[in-house]
Amino acid sequence: MRSSQLVSAAAIVLVSGAIAAAQIHDHLAAPSASAASTAATSPAATSPAATSPAATSADAQSAPARIGIRFAGSSFTVSGWKPPPTAPQGGWSAVFAVYASVAAAPGASPTPVTPGLPALLGSYAIEHGALVFRPRFPLAAGMQYRAVFTPPRAPAISGVFYGPPRDVTPSTRVLHIYPSAAVLPSNTLRLYIYFSAPMSRGEAAAYVHVLDAHGHVLHEVFLPGEELWDPQFTQLTLTFDPGRIKRGLTSNERMGPPIAPGARYTLVIERGWPDARGVPLVAGASKVYRGGPALRTPPDPHQWRVGAPAAGARGPVTVDFPHPMNYPLLQRMLRVTGPHGSVAGSIGIGHDETRWSFTPRRAWPAGRYQLIVDRDLEDVAGNRIDQPFDIDVFQRVTEHIVTRTLAVPFEVR
């Protein structure tokens, strides 16, 4: 989210017979104890100021008191004006409103209020004899806030304030793209992109492309619609259009699979992709892959090679698969149990997702162990244990879910 911490500094716009209404331009990032003194001493008070002859004139005649708009903590305050005991007709917002807009570039004139756009939501209060407006939502980085005070029977005055400056330094990187292999089955179902920091949602389609061997952008490769992120928005799932993967479907027949056996592709991630702060990546990324034969055989744990560790040491148990498996699922769909229940340790995944290893926290006691496999574990083509991604209907589909796990025994000696 782009919203920032509350701006805690202060500035003031003063109006009196002698001092014209000023528009103060300053990034209010540094805390300040005294609003009034800040206004008197801040360079902002002398920064580009737009006089309001009407306001000066009106105040000079009818309001010799100093009227100003101050921002401190998280509230905007009209100082030097004694509000009536009850809100005027139309509410306090009729006399005092704050308008948010994107901040102009440094040195440029403030952004004017856009006609037709409503004011910032917030609440009003009379505190210490002054009208105070508190925005309902935190002030956001890179935003401008124009506070407009329209006293009864007098011209409006306004003050311009700024949220903290936006951090525009790129720092987010692409860490990895899975599957890792250079050859992907033609029915590969999903790609995973891992980032070093949270990303923005809803931007992927503009920044991820697949190019053919000639560098042409390919169309309709991935499923459009919702972007599938993890809760931290650091892992994006891209699903190859299943209509082009499933045998017998119209698009599979018409367009072929999104990965043709033997063909060469490049997945391109553009640098401009904004992270959660709205800042582009440090660098773009790419992955070159070739199409391999389709993977239609569901994973069969009987074909996995389990390398049992030695007793009395902390060497890993390893499991080698004949085909690459789904990376994130390998992290949570395999576990080890032993004579004393679940074994604590850490998982490793390597060899282009064809090897899973597990290193225990404590040395292995000798005994019989089991690798517990969740049946929902998928290979890179979405085939599950005992269940291919698409099924020949001449095979009977199990009518009810059976046990969710199966066990592969191994012995530690």
Partner: protein, 389 residues
């Protein structure tokens, strides 16, 4: 339109009823508002919306892994009125103090009682974006943001953590990366049905959650639905959007899948834990995802209006859906099955919401890039009512 009648997952109800006495259950059931507690409705995100009884709004919270029921206190009956709010994203953004490009409108629904319009909105695009529920008053452009810090609400967790939650540390020390992205919700006489997409597994789980909520939905019904696709091969796939519908006096769910088949599934077969077969009655084309479905009846005929990520708005001829034979062979065309026409006048429709028998609510906005890409929205986003085509 013939809406579906009562559908209830027997097992889940039996489980819920076992927790409390029959008399108390009946009382709570009759007064769902009494089951809501007042306080901070802690949403982590606001996605799909659905209205339940008495102006209760269900909010799908994918990041929070929950569905929140919120009392909108909006239950004064009113007739539908035109809505036309141009540039609604810029207006909401100005109210909450961000730029329009940082505002995402996730769903739009109409309160069937008051006819006021509700939007779920993200203030920001990152994981800590602030969820908002926005109301547009019927027949006006008055916009307000519902306070969520002191509101009657109830939540149900969609906790279906993997069975093999392990004692192992993940290889990179990261917390769980699994997330169920809720794609659609429908309330049908006592049950909230929830469809979603996992970012890691390919599944077709459709949840049915009795309301008032009882603990977590993990103990509720999870149904795996298979659909035959073009004869020989069949597959399991996530449902993207769905609607209850009666065909020839039988209750069905019409479900549109991520790979665009439209499938009918009999309610009678939706039992907890069941793996059942749906029948494909239309294929809406490749490179596309259906987004919303609005059934309606006009001049004695039934229709379903469907908007899509890439293939515009379709008007499906829904008379005699039972008469169409299942698609049984690959067809080398973009579309197949039940006939429909694409409404060329309706472009860039991001959301459809039922308003009344005459009008439908649309949220429109252009996206960057070509249609198949369905990129981020650019330019103004408008909310308006239009006559049903």
């Amino acid at each position: 339109m013939r809406r579906a009648t009562l559908y209830r997952i027997t097992g889940a109800v039996v489980g819920a009823a076992a927790l409390i006495s029959g008399a108390a259950y009946a009382r709570i059931s009759n007064n769902p508002l009494n089951t809501l507690a007042t306080g901070d409705a802690h949403l982590m995100s606001a996605g799909p919306l659905a209205f339940g009884p008495d102006g209760i709004l269900f909010v799908g919270d994918s990041i929070g892994g929950q569905v929140m029921a919120i009392d909108t206190h909006d239950r004064r009956p009113a007739s539908a009125a035109k809505v036309d709010v141009q540039d609604i994203n810029a207006k909401i953004a100005a109210m909450v103090g961000i730029t329009p490009d940082q505002l995402v409108i996730n769903d739009v629904k109409v309160n069937p009682i008051s006819k006021n319009v509700y939007l779920s909105v993200s203030r920001g695009r990152g994981p800590d974006a602030m969820p908002l529920i926005v109301r547009v008053e019927r027949g006006s452009d008055r916009i307000s943001v519902l306070p969520l810090d002191d509101v009657a609400h109830a939540a149900v967790q969609l906790s279906d953590a993997p069975a093999s939650a392990s004692a192992a540390d993940p290889p990179n020390g990261r917390p769980s990366s699994r997330m169920l992205t809720i794609t659609d919700m429908v309330y049908v006489k006592g049950d909230l049905m929830v469809a979603g997409l996992s970012n890691e597994e390919w599944s077709s789980a459709l949840r049915s959650i009795p309301f008032p909520f009882q603990r977590t939905a993990a103990q509720g019904a999870t149904i795996q639905i298979w659909h035959s696709s073009h004869g020989r091969f069949e597959t399991q796939a996530p449902i993207r959007t769905f609607v209850p519908y009666d065909i020839d006096g039988r209750n069905y769910v019409l479900a549109a899948y991520t790979c665009t088949p439209l499938v009918k599934i009999p309610f009678s077969e939706l039992h907890p834990g069941a793996r059942i077969h749906g029948t494909e009655i239309a294929d809406l084309g490749a490179g596309n995802q259906p987004l919303d479905m609005v059934p309606y009846r006009r001049n004695g005929h039934d229709y379903i209006l469907i908007n899509n990520t890439s293939r515009g708005v379709m008007k499906l001829q829904a008379d005699d859906l039972g008469a169409y034979k299942p698609i049984s062979a690959p067809t080398i065309t973009n579309v197949a099955g039940v006939p429909y026409q694409t409404i060329s006048d309706l472009q860039n429709v991001r959301h459809l919401a039922r308003l009344d028998a005459q009008d439908v609510l649309i949220l429109t906005g252009k996206s960057s890039g070509p249609p198949w890409q369905a990129g981020p929205l650019i330019g103004p986003v408008n909310l308006q009512t239009i006559p049903l085509p």
